[in-house]
Symmetry: C2
Subunit: 148 residues, 2 copies
Amino acid sequence: MTHSPLTLDRFLPYRLSVASNAVSTRISNSYRRRFGLKVAEWRVLAILAESAQLTPQALAGATRMDKISISRASGALGARGLIEVRPNHDDRRSHYLALTAEGRALYAEIAPAALALETRLLDSFSAEERAQLAALLRRIEVAAESGL
Amino acid sequence: MTHSPLTLDRFLPYRLSVASNAVSTRISNSYRRRFGLKVAEWRVLAILAESAQLTPQALAGATRMDKISISRASGALGARGLIEVRPNHDDRRSHYLALTAEGRALYAEIAPAALALETRLLDSFSAEERAQLAALLRRIEVAAESGL
DNA sequence: TATTGTTATACTCTATAACTATA
DNA sequence: TATAGTTATAGAGTATAACAATA
């Protein structure tokens, strides 16, 4: 039996895109509806919750977003009083961003909801399968980013 | 030792999004640069290559895109002479779309390039790992799309 | 009335380039 | 000169609503 060597249905980039879109649509709807946050803003919030204070450049590296997205996301978070700007005396072109008390409070509300959503998504997965998926995704990411 | 129960770095929706973005950036650059196609147009081309002729509605189902995207993609493909419109006598609100000879020729050129790219992405994966990844992605997709 | 497909509109995300202020 | 960050602009993806033609 011959069959087409390429079917969209079995094409990895397509499957990856469909799975990722399904998840991010769910996630971004949830963040926006419940907390008024875009995904970029949620990422900045999450990283700052882990890191005390960071420059926009460090945030860009940690969130895999570019500096433009960081600038917009932190502008929105700052306007809501969720993060504050602190001077960077070592380099006055830059500055530090850090959560305010309100930012920490919002994060404390979001984090459990995010974990619950992840748990529901992975409900049918064993611990081993979760680890496998994470490891496989990392390898795909590295392969896609490194030389052609 | 306590550590944060939620770190962005280990958050599945984030890892999935980063991996998918890395792959789709590569793919879409490649399609656009080499063949002048957007991803939506490539998907329509690929499905029509498998299916002879389909209505826009059937195409939307097969590509996981909405009817607006299908309408725009098929408009662009039609303008380049890659697909043609055929009447649907059973329902004259609708029509069939099918590849032209030029469309088939372009697809014959693209398909090997797409497969080569997929092969490079999965270069370090065993056959078993590829199957695992595909199966895990399907399960995530189903979980994300079915009830909250 | 309901459905197929198109068009208009808008919002998000991403990428490029120009700008500012510092270094 | 080069770098950190911001702003402006445009392309691509996605979603809603209004519309034309047909069922």
